[in-house]
């Protein structure tokens, strides 16, 4: 009897850890496969296109002549329909705006819902916008605060000291005002305002390496490409890399540490860095720039080339100097800002 008791006790203790699992097997609460979006296709203008697609679908049967209606978009929303619309200053709008022609907002307005305009959109200073999709040019005033995104089929120009939310994208030129903060930018090209800024000056360095092989593996703290070097090979630096002024490098660059590119350098390939990247004034990079740290791009630098989409992607911050052009996509994992 005692043996049976002990055995039962042992069995209970043995099975106890498995009981929650057995319950999950019998009454599954979390048995679905992990989700994969099978239709996901990368598109830097995804937000604007997706919003337009919802509008096209949901408004197909709606009379666009009437003023205000409740329409099911992602959920039921009040939508104001208008041909041209000018919103007076200090207004607070808590419904979706659907404007078939031009949209104008005066200063200090707050738009709590999305805006669509088939024409131009002009937003005054110090407004707050949740999301805006425009089929023509967009102009955002100084100190505009974008909560989510702005997208245009043409150009976008932002004022100074804007907070540009999650994404600003357009099919043509995207001009970013000075002092603006951003996460994602897409334009052909993305431009920062043109004023002369200070060139970037690198810190101290001590070592100069001979350039001869395809891949450079060095244990020294800095691998240095001497001034005005012309090279037609890939460079891989196992620590930091300094590219001195005036170099022409036809190939990709990879560094496990920091990368400093001095003034007037031309790089035809892609640039990858495990740490920070600092690019001095007047540099031209035809490929992508990727950093697991921060990217700083000084004034008058060009990334990519007309007609091609290239990217500047950083895990942390991106700082853009004045007069910078990037043909394509800019993504700052944490925050980006234009000087």
């Amino acid at each position: 009897m005692i043996m049976l008791l002990f055995f039962s006790l042992f069995l209970l203790m043995f099975l106890l850890p498995f009981l929650p699992g057995i319950r999950e097997l019998v009454q599954p609460q979390d048995s679905s496969p992990l989700h994969i979006n099978m239709n996901y296709s990368k598109d830097p203008r995804y937000f604007g296109k997706s919003f337009r697609s919802i509008l096209d679908k949901r408004l197909a049967t709606v009379d666009l002549q009437s003023d205000m209606q409740t329409v099911k978009l992602s959920k039921k929303e009040a939508v104001l329909f208008s041909a041209n619309l000018t919103v007076p200053e200090d207004s607070r709008i808590n419904y979706v705006l659907y404007v078939t022609d031009n949209f104008v907002s005066r200063e200090r307005c707050i738009f709590e819902k999305e805006i669509y305009t088939g024409g131009k959109a002009t937003v005054g200073d110090e407004c707050e916008i949740r999301a805006l999709a425009a089929d023509a040019r967009v102009s955002l005033g100084n100190k505009t605060n974008v909560i989510r995104w702005v997208d245009s089929e043409e150009d976008i120009t932002t004022g100074d000291e804007c907070d540009l939310g999650w994404s600003i994208s357009c099919q043509k030129k995207l001009r970013i005002g000075s002092g603006s903060k951003f996460r994602r930018l897409f334009g052909m090209p993305v431009l920062t305002c043109k004023q002369d800024g200070d060139g970037y000056l690198p810190g101290h360095y001590t070592d100069i390496q001979d350039i001869g092989d395809t891949a450079f593996k060095t244990d020294s703290e800095w691998l240095i490409v001497p001034p005005s070097t012309k090279l037609n090979k890939v460079i891989i630096a196992t620590q930091n890399l300094l590219i001195k002024y005036g170099c022409i490098l036809k190939g990709d660059i990879k560094t496990y540490g920091n990368l400093i590119v001095e003034e007037g350098v031309r790089i035809t390939g892609n640039v990858f860095a495990e740490k920070d990247v600092a690019i001095a004034a007047g540099t031209r990079i035809l490929g992508n720039i990727f950093s697991q740290g921060t990217i700083t791009i000084a004034s008058q630098t060009k990334i990519g080339r007309s007609g091609m989409i290239k990217s500047a992607v950083s895990r942390k911050e991106i700082v853009l100097g004045r007069g910078v052009s990037i043909f394509g996509y800019v993504l700052a994992g944490k925050k980006g800002r234009a000087s």
Partner: protein, 423 residues
């Protein structure tokens, strides 16, 4: 007898040491995922200049799944003028050939390779197909995989990095709810990718090219001599081949693809035996090149060695259990008197037993899964199962080396109902 006891004691102590080393490894990876610096993959790079791509799908009697993967690949967003899809019909005796020919007539970018002569098996099939392909980048999917629309772009962007020789995506079981086995495999996969692979990528160690949802530079592959057709784990072989020559393999957690996990224990047993045997073959071939390569850092060498030996650990543990039983019945288990060993045993019992469970738990946490965490204690049964079949695989590999045996490729059975075809 005293000598035997001494040998057994030394062996048992070494086994404990090996286990402690591996639990430290598990904990390091898990902690890295919890609190360490996370490196991002390149999926956010948008680049309109895309390389040409050849997608290879090894197939041996894949009539149940062939149409599904082809349908998905032809609806990919990758530019069709830069894409060729090469299903490798490897000695199939079912309707695979008919299905592939039907697709190829309708879609010129599908160019099946029908193999009915020569050696059968994934490495041999891939070697032949890759030789005749044109893409700059080779991408491999197993036939049961379901690639999403944008996956090819996300894969090839890895090769913008000049030192990347191969990349590996993440595998997610589609048939998770099916039964106990598929649910436990789902946990294993989460742990393996979400923790092991990502942590190795974060720590710049040796992420593994896994043979499917993976890509590599085609010309480089040919320069390195292709796959060794006598090795069952061609994926592991390519990983080490690349690292030894100075190239890197990177892991992309974001590049996710559904697979069909084995639904029957005997099928899983064969799969594990094949992996263990193949991986151990790679261990015998690449251990020395790994240690002596001038292209690999010290940390990479340590991780690479631990990864090479991983399928031999169950064999060592099995022998350790055997040794401890003998010592116990001989009344010689007082080896705990050694302070160092005592510490090892205590450390192992405190953390070691816990390490794999901890890793699984954190993986499900990162994945945002909640209730499936309750299944973790049931992994104990998988542990015993894996121990046995991995040991068998390791012994087979050792016998292969000793007796130069011929290797026969065994494909994994499929469980999906037969799908349609091009209309």
């Amino acid at each position: 007898m005293e000598l035997v006891v001494l040998i057994l004691k030394i062996y048992l102590s070494l086994t404990a040491l090996v286990m402690v080393v591996y639990f430290i490894r598990h904990f390091t990876f898990t902690l890295n995922r919890l609190v360490g610096r996370q490196r991002i993959y390149y999926q956010d790079i948008l680049d309109s200049e895309l390389p040409s791509v050849s997608v290879f799908i090894p197939m041996h009697n894949e009539e149940k799944v062939a149409a599904d993967i082809l349908d998905l690949l032809i609806s990919s967003d990758y530019p069709q003028d830069k894409l060729e899809i090469i299903p490798i019909n490897d000695h199939s005796s079912d309707k695979t050939k008919t299905i592939l020919n039907r697709y190829s007539r309708k879609f010129p970018l599908i160019k099946p390779l029908h193999r009915s002569k020569g050696s059968r098996g994934k490495p041999a099939g891939l070697n032949e197909a890759i030789q005749n392909a044109v893409g700059e980048i080779a991408i491999v999917f197993d036939a049961d995989y379901l690639p999403p629309k944008g996956i090819l772009r996300d894969m090839v962007v890895a090769f913008k990095d000049p030192e990347v020789g191969a990349m590996m995506g993440r595998v997610i079981p589609k048939n998770t709810p099916k039964n106990l086995l598929t649910r436990l495999l789902d946990l294993e996969r989460s742990s393996g990718y979400q923790i092991d692979q990502q942590a190795r990528y974060n720590l710049r160690l040796i992420p593994q090219y896994g043979g499917t949802v993976g890509a590599f530079r085609r010309e480089l592959f040919l320069t390195l001599g292709g796959f060794d057709e006598d090795i069952l784990a061609e994926d592991t072989e390519l990983t080490y081949k690349l690292f030894v020559k100075g190239w890197k393999v990177i892991y992309a957690s974001r590049v996710e693809c559904y697979e069909e996990a084995p639904e029957e224990w005997p099928v899983r047993a064969r799969q594990i035996k094949r992996w263990s045997r193949g991986h151990s073959q790679v261990m015998f071939k690449y251990f020395w090149p790994l240690l002596t390569s001038s292209h690999i850092s010290a940390l990479e060498k340590i991780d690479g060695a631990l990864l090479l030996f991983i399928y031999s650990v169950p064999f060592l543990i099995s022998l350790g259990i055997f040794a401890s039983l003998i010592l116990f019945f001989l009344g010689e288990m007082q080896l705990i008197e050694s302070l160092l060993l005592f510490l090892f045993v205590v450390a192992y019992n405190t953390f070691g037993n816990f390490a794999p469970f901890n890793q699984l738990g954190i993986a499900t946490l990162i994945d945002g899964s909640t209730h499936r965490i309750r299944l973790i204690p049931l992994i104990f049964f998988v542990f015993v199962f894996n121990l046995w079949y991995t040991t068998l695989g390791f012994i087979n590999a050792a016998l292969d080396v000793l007796f130069k045996r011929e290797i026969l490729w065994q494909k994994t059975d499929r469980f999906r109902a037969v799908s349609g075809g091009p209309g």
